[in-house]
Amino acid sequence: MVNRRKALITGLLLLIGYAVVQLMLSMGLIDPFYENMLMNIGINIMLAVSLHLIIGVTGQFSIGHAGFLAVGAYVSAVLTTKLDQPFLPAILAAGVAAALFGILVGVPTLRLRGDYLAIATLGFGEIVRITLYNIDYVGGAAGMQVRHLTNWTYLYIAVIVMIIVIANLTNSAHGRALLAIREDEVAAEAMGVNTTYYKVLAFAVGAFFAGIAGAMYAHQFYVIQPVAFGFLKSFEILVIVVLGGIGSLSGAILAATLLSLVNIYLQAFPETRMILYSLVLILVMLYRPQGLMGNREITDLLKRRLGKEA
């Protein structure tokens, strides 16, 4: 079967990718600065792709993604720091907890659309943040100090699993149901798509991976504080998804990578950093309003290229 062979080759490539970087890391060929950069990119990819499922695929205008990130970060941090649990169960718990919140947010989406939904999700994110301020157990405003446990292995596996799940979900009858909701909810219902179920599903899966990203985030950056999970963080993630091209998974990955690099590059210009960043944003949107990839995938482009040569 062609498919099985393809899967095998992909699996092998993924394994090699992992091993090469891991080897370089343990041999010290990648210094801490670049290692840190990789982690940043990986976490941003997780955030962008998980939001892509909600906004890009299902068309639900959600701007409270930082809320899911926060839930994941805090749940995992409490488990590892306060309850002395190992990292792996903490990661999974972070995902599950965020997914539960995803379902909680998914419910209002049943009645709200467009900007009304956006405000509700924004409100959700803010409610999470403000609640964290007021829980002394997790340090309130001061936040929590978290051990550095995130490493290449965990992050790589998380990113790859997420991409496989979301890509496979999108390219299936279930994924097409999500797309149908994005395109026209009334028509989707008329085609027998249970929009309630699928919208909640999208929020739950998206939130699950955002929660896992939260676990990675918490155990990468030493400190978590509620202030880091405000609406500006949600916007940051939204910007990545839009820049990549709404509806394009590979676009989200590409944009997350590029923006992380741009960000690191701009650190060297502290005074003008944000001005330059905003200019990049405006210019890209003006000259490529559909985002870097539009709604296509890298694989489409490759196919076309191959098709032409053939």
């Binding site: 498919n3 899967a7 496989i164 799940v165 496979n168 979900l169 299936s172 009858a173 279930h174 994924g175 097409r176 149901a177 797309l179 149908a180 395109e183 026209d184 009334v186 028509a187 989707a188 219902e189 008329a190 085609m191 027998g192 798509v193 249970n194 929009t195 599903l201 509806g247 709604n295």
Partner: protein
């Protein structure tokens, strides 16, 4: 067998009684038309039958089962499909995907199956693909299968709407002005296609249409609505001669246009 039956069906929008006291039925295999002046409430009837609007009065039975108040997707799963007066395709998706989405009503693989790509997933996806292609072929759309729906011409879009509705394997098909914006010849082709579909799939059809040549030629019975009230019901000949229908809907000169 009685496919559909409504009793005292009605709906209010604020003060407006858009449809009232409507009794209507369809038997297995019938093709029935619903006509009436603009704003008479025809589309609203469709919206109630498909669960888009919840009726405020009366009841709807589908094969004897009460269905009023059920959600649209559940009704589609029970076997009622429709097209929309203002075309509502999944604009950015391909023609093929538009049809495949409708097909998913009949799939059984779970979310987990598709993520893990278990064998059941592959089987069903292949079956869906084959059926969808076959359907596009019958509707003459196979050539544009990979085109985005919004790039189709108006007439093609109308046909895609019908294909999409058929893909849900309906027992009852509701068509809302399928010939709008088509010229007489295209209308004629459409008419033949509807007949064919009805024969091959043994379907029951309810049709809204302003094109009288189409309506009078293919429908077995006709219901006429005006201001939400049923003003006439019967075979084409009876309806055409009914003075109330002429006054409210057909107009005096209608006879020669239909000749």
């Amino acid at each position: 067998m009685r496919v559909l039956e409504t009793r005292g069906l009605g709906i209010r929008f604020g003060g407006l009684r858009a449809v009232q006291e409507l009794d209507l039925f369809l038997d297995q295999g019938e093709l029935v038309a619903l006509i009436g002046p603009n704003g008479a409430g025809k589309t609203t009837v469709f919206n109630m039958l498909t669960g888009v609007y919840k009726p405020t009065e009366g009841e709807i039975r589908f094969f004897g089962e009460r269905i009023d108040g059920m959600s649209p997707y559940a009704l589609t799963r029970k076997g009622i499909a429709r097209t929309f007066q203002n075309i509502r395709l999944f604009q950015q998706l391909s023609v093929l995907d538009n049809v495949r989405i409708a097909h998913q009503v009949n799939t059984h693989h779970t979310f987990i199956d598709s993520i893990l790509r278990l064998p059941r997933f592959g089987r069903e996806e292949r079956r869906m693909l084959e059926e969808s292609r076959a359907l596009l072929e019958t509707m003459g759309l196979l050539a544009v299968a990979d085109e985005a729906a919004r790039n189709l011409s108006y007439g093609q879009q109308r046909r895609l709407e019908i294909a999409r509705a058929l893909a849900t394997h309906p027992k009852l098909l509701l068509l809302d002005e399928p010939a709008a914006g088509m010229n007489p010849r295209e209308t004629h082709e459409l008419m033949e296609m509807i007949e064919r579909v009805r024969k091959t799939f043994g379907m029951t059809i309810l049709l809204i249409e302003h094109d009288m040549s189409l309506v009078m030629n293919i429908s077995e019975r006709i219901y006429v609505l005006d201001h939400g009230v049923l003003i006439a019901h019967g075979g084409p000949e009876d309806v055409r001669k009914n003075p109330r229908v002429i006054e409210a809907y057909l107009g005096e000169a209608a006879e020669d246009a239909l000749a």
